[in-house]
Amino acid sequence: MERTILLADMNSFFASVHQALDPALRNRPVIVGGSQEKRHGIVLAASYEAKARGVKTGMPVWEARRACPEGIFVPPRHHLYVHFSTRILNIMNDFTPLVEPFSIDEAFMDLTGCLHLFGGPVAAARLLKDRIRREVGVLCSIGIGPNKLLAKMAAEMQKPDGLTVLGAEEVPARLWPLPVRDLFGIGPRYEHHLRYFNIRTIGDLAGFPVEILKRRFGVMGEVIWWSANGVDHSPVNPHSLDTARSVGHQITLPRDFYRRDEIAVVILELSDLVARRARQGGYTGRTVTLVLKDANFNWLGRSRTLRRHTDLAEDLYEAGVLILDRHWTGYPVRMVGLSLSGLTRNAAPQGDIFGRAEKLQRVARACDRIRTRFGEKTIKRGSSLTRAGVLYE
């Protein structure tokens, strides 16, 4: 079935957020990045007014200052961007539940099933742009296509404040003349490798024998060939962010730790912290990763997959210490990190025949309630009181 996919890409998102919040910044060259006092850092985002003067994302702040002396430099405030991003996603969710956040400032929507509600794709896109502008105060470029790839390519075609429809039949005329680097999924590495085949434009790639690409690049060779031909079957997945996440924490130790027992205490403390965070988010996970760094910042990271999903500190600790015993060779440890991945919100936990998990679960809930009410450090394990305890001091 022919699909209608839309991508909304916020223009100069971080800078636009600051402009939306402070009318004094509107129509002015706003540059987000670094810190104002210290003269360092890089540009994270620049308003179109600043971009017009040659300021680019990723440029060192001092260089941006030289290119645009009258620029208004703003330090980044990440929680604001998350908040704005959520507001925009909420608006998109008013159109359809099939919304896939792609990055903090981009999201896909599958409009296929709800076009009739809005009088067609272009009308829906206009309504969306209008609502984001009025309710959130930022501009966006929208691309519409029969799949995610073409929607993304279309959105790139007109910035800022664009609205572009790219049909499958327009691929030869509008996509093929573009340099291959502009194709979604082609980075500098692929660009470099493709140059050896004399592939310079997207059209070159689309016309290239797919067998040779497969032989050279494996499965990805076929994927990029289909992409160049405007074909992409990946669905808009509203849950894409639910699965890939992990919960973790790392701590740099106040001194190098040499003893296994001391490192184990740190792992236990990290386990408590990470498990608590997992429970707060309602997550259980199956893969535990332990990272150790020595004094020279050489690091070791190893994972272990558990037999069932868990949000219990005891399970994380058991896996963490097992990794420690298997892979740590006795060097001084300066930093310890522990994370839980393979997260899900709807694992049906397998019961435990000896009731261990259920018992620990009840203890964990009780501790959670105490911590929520009286503070994170009001309840801690005895081992945190030893010299090796660092997190719950």
Partner: protein, 368 residues
Amino acid sequence: MKFSIDRENFQYVIQNVQRAISPRSPLPVLTGILFQCGNGVLKLTATDMEMSVVCSVPVDVADPGDLVIPARYIAEFAKRLPDMPIEIETIGGSRLATIRYGQSEFNINGYSASDFPLLQVPEGEFSFTVSSEELRDIIRKVIYAVSNDDSRPIFTGVLMEIEGTGATLVATDTFRLAMKKFVLDAPAPGLINVVVPGKTLNEVVRVMGVSDGVRVTLSKNHIMFETEDTVITSRLIPGRFPSYRQVIPEDFECVIRVSVRNLLDSADRAALLAGERNSLILFQSAREGIVISVRSENGWIREDIEADVEGENFDILFNVRYLCDVLKSCEGEEILVKLTGTYTPALLTPHGDDSYLAVIVPARASKE
């Protein structure tokens, strides 16, 4: 060392001991098989220091002697040998083994037999004999419940409990439990309570012939299984097996009698949709029988199974693999499924056979 042997016997002895080898052992000599010949017998030994397997076959010995030959070469080579008499020889005190077959020869460097560590086994304290057929059946009924998670080693073993002539094997991975009772031919002197590595029991089943009896000998830290030509010796797993009796439920809210075949076939089909991760199926007891169903993003299935159901009705989430493992190990016609609640353990036992039971703990419904 010099002896001759036919291809079939050669392949047989090597196959029997091969699994005990630890291919990546830091001790190079342990990656080999110890060959010893004398008195018309060739004896092969392999060990990973946890378990050792010794297998003997009659051969023509021309010159007694011994040598350790790297397993990866000799085992692969044995498979590739042509069907003809084989002669194996080491010259003088050298560590080179020469294998002659027809006009050809294969030479391989080995290790000195004196470097090969032998598992020191103290005097046995108690022995009993069991037919290989019965032993295979007993092991098969519990081995599936052994845990493969080495973070808690005690659960990677099978508890063997003996009192008088009554013996019980118990295995659990903490999600399910299997228990099988059997009767010994000789009474034990006292209470025996040991944990045998699951790996050892798997090896016993594999190596055991069809007809012969197996002699089992227990000592303080070891267990030994002797068949006609093979001896498997293994360390026991140290530590206390948790008290399993208290987790076997005794009062039931619902008792279901159902055909093993029908339930297994239905569960097997439902497993297709149950997915890789948790493999959960919904098991519902109703007045007329059992309903098994799975709903997934890929589709759904519903299986109606005729059964005698007595008691309250429940909707239970089972890991389908746990259910199938039990059903596959039952050879009777019917099985009793005894339920205690939605989230509490269920007991499965063959109808008319009190010697075997399995406990499965259900999964809790997800929060959504």
